[in-house]
């Protein structure tokens, strides 16, 4: 499967969408009376969070497919999705912290159930790569990683529920209009940013898949041409292998 196809078009689309979204956020969306300009980080923070969480769940779904079919390409898809979501997740925590400082004066607040849940999920997924790395047999590594991705994926919604119940607050202010929805002028930039972040994830995912596939193909060809000696052994790695097939 060629992941490199339409990559350029996708990248351009992503760049355009994100620029539009941020532009709208800067100039079109209203300034928040209390929080001032810093509130606009909401347009980065929330879309990142939504996309990262979807990424983790997508990783879990790919893991289910991997266990069901035994096809190692699903394992690669799962791995790339999770590890990208983890990077985005770090972004969520950082932007969340900045927002907390701007809104409440502290770099971290426990009153924010969504942020707290996110921290827990982040800590959990941060163990994904060390877990993979610590299992040497590649097939076993892939299988155990998939089991983990499924457990963690199921954990995400349960965790959010539990943390929310533990707090008495709800996610404040930004969504607090008279009827509880997003005010009109904020909706357009928000949704465009959301789409932009989703496109960003998709683009980065495709880039990484294409890169890994190309390396695997290269190894496979080298082995076919030069025999087993032509290819240096991979050594220990957390990254999935695609087997000896093409």
């Amino acid at each position: 499967m060629l992941y490199g196809s339409r990559l350029r078009a996708l990248s351009i689309l992503t760049a355009v969408t994100l620029t539009t979204g941020f532009g709208l956020a800067f100039f079109y969306a209203p300034m928040d009376a209390d929080q001032g300009f810093m509130q606009k980080i909401f347009y980065v923070h929330v879309p990142l969070a939504i996309v990262a969480l979807c990424g983790f769940v997508f990783g879990g779904i790919m893991a289910i497919q991997h266990l069901r079919t035994g096809d190692s390409r699903y394992d690669l898809r799962s791995y790339v999705a999770i590890h990208l979501s983890l990077i985005l997740g770090a972004g969520v925590l950082i932007t969340g912290s900045i927002w907390a400082k701007a809104s409440w004066g502290h770099w971290w607040v426990w009153d924010e159930p969504t942020l707290v849940s996110f921290l827990i999920v982040f800590l959990l997924y941060a163990t994904y790569q060390p877990l993979r790395f610590s299992i040497e047999d590649p097939e076993k590594q892939a299988r155990y990683a998939s089991v983990f991705a499924i457990i963690a994926g199921a954990f995400v919604p349960l965790n959010f529920l539990a943390v929310r119940l533990a707090q008495s607050y709800t996610h404040p202010r930004v969504f607090a209009t008279a009827d509880g929805g997003l005010p009109a002028k904020m909706q357009l930039p928000f949704y465009i940013c959301l789409i932009g972040m989703a496109l960003l994830f998709a683009t980065l995912w495709k880039y990484e898949m294409a890169s890994k596939h190309t390396s695997a193909k290269l190894r496979s060809l080298r082995r076919k041409l030069g025999g087993d000696e032509a290819v240096a052994p991979r050594g220990r790695t957390a990254s999935p292998s695609l087997g000896t097939g093409s």
């Binding site: 266990l67 827990i120 999920v121 800590l123 959990l124 163990t127 060390p130 877990l131 610590s134 299992i135 040497e136 076993k140 299988r143 155990y144 998939s146 089991v147 983990f148 499924i150 457990i151 963690a152 199921a154 954990f155 349960l158 965790n159 529920l161 539990a162 943390v163 119940l165 533990a166």
Partner: protein
């Protein structure tokens, strides 16, 4: 299936009785941790939410010790192969290990909870409070046992087993901590114990159910090759 669980469980319990790996260490660790808490918190007694917190952190970390050891004996002695050769359902191993872990936790709590009451609680809880506490402990222990079995099975094949177990298990157990701590707080108030809010018991029950089913679904993949 029942025959297999029975065989496995007898073996687990007999091994633990014969060559104790988990329970004495966990029990001792709990009591020591309580003493450390006394000095770290600089208090002679705790109550309410602080008491619930001290109790659950202590039990949780003791459980981490036990989880690391849960599959080690099998792994070292090639015992898992012996089971895999038998014409039985693999999930019997999950059930047996989870029940064994639950039993170990219960054994540790028989020591740790009275020790906690003795060292740090004032006034001492009455029978009714203990009864409700046992209910919370049972629900929470079920969750810890299920997650412990999953994580123990995951980690036994890895090289950094003792590190990975807490790193994997603790985030997964946070909903259990939330539920258990919230449920226990009213029981440990100095002014007099109150009833446990049902919603927390429901959350613990829901967690146990969801992860029990999930564990049942994925466990095969952890033991087959």
């Amino acid at each position: 299936m029942r025959r297999a669980v029975d065989a496995l469980l007898r073996k687990e319990l007999r091994l633990e009785l014969r060559a104790p790996q988990a329970v004495p260490a966990m029990a001792l660790f709990s009591v020591t941790t309580l003493v450390v808490f006394h000095f770290a918190l600089q208090r002679g007694q705790v109550e309410g939410d602080l008491a619930a917190g001290v109790l659950w952190v202590t039990l949780l970390f003791a459980a981490m010790l036990g989880t690391s050891r849960l599959f080690v004996a099998d792994h070292e002695e090639g015992g898992l192969d012996g089971f895999l050769l038998a014409p039985v359902d693999r999930t019997a191993l999950l059930v047996a290990k989870a029940v064994a872990m639950f039993a170990f936790l219960a054994a540790v709590e028989i020591v740790a909870v009275p020790a906690f009451a003795l060292l740090l609680l004032e006034p001492a809880p009455d029978a009714g409070t203990y009864a409700q506490l046992v209910l919370v402990l049972a629900l929470a222990d079920a969750g810890v046992a299920i997650i412990g079995t999953l994580v123990g099975a995951l980690a036994v094949q890895t090289r950094a087993r003792d590190l990975l177990v807490p790193l994997l298990a603790l985030p997964l157990l946070i909903p259990v901590v939330i539920g258990a701590a919230k449920a226990t707080t009213p029981l440990l108030l100095a002014a007099g114990a109150e009833a446990v809010p049902l919603r927390w018991l429901a959350i613990l029950g829901l967690y146990d159910l969801v992860f029990g089913l999930l564990a049942y679904a994925v466990f095969d993949f952890l033991v087959e090759d």
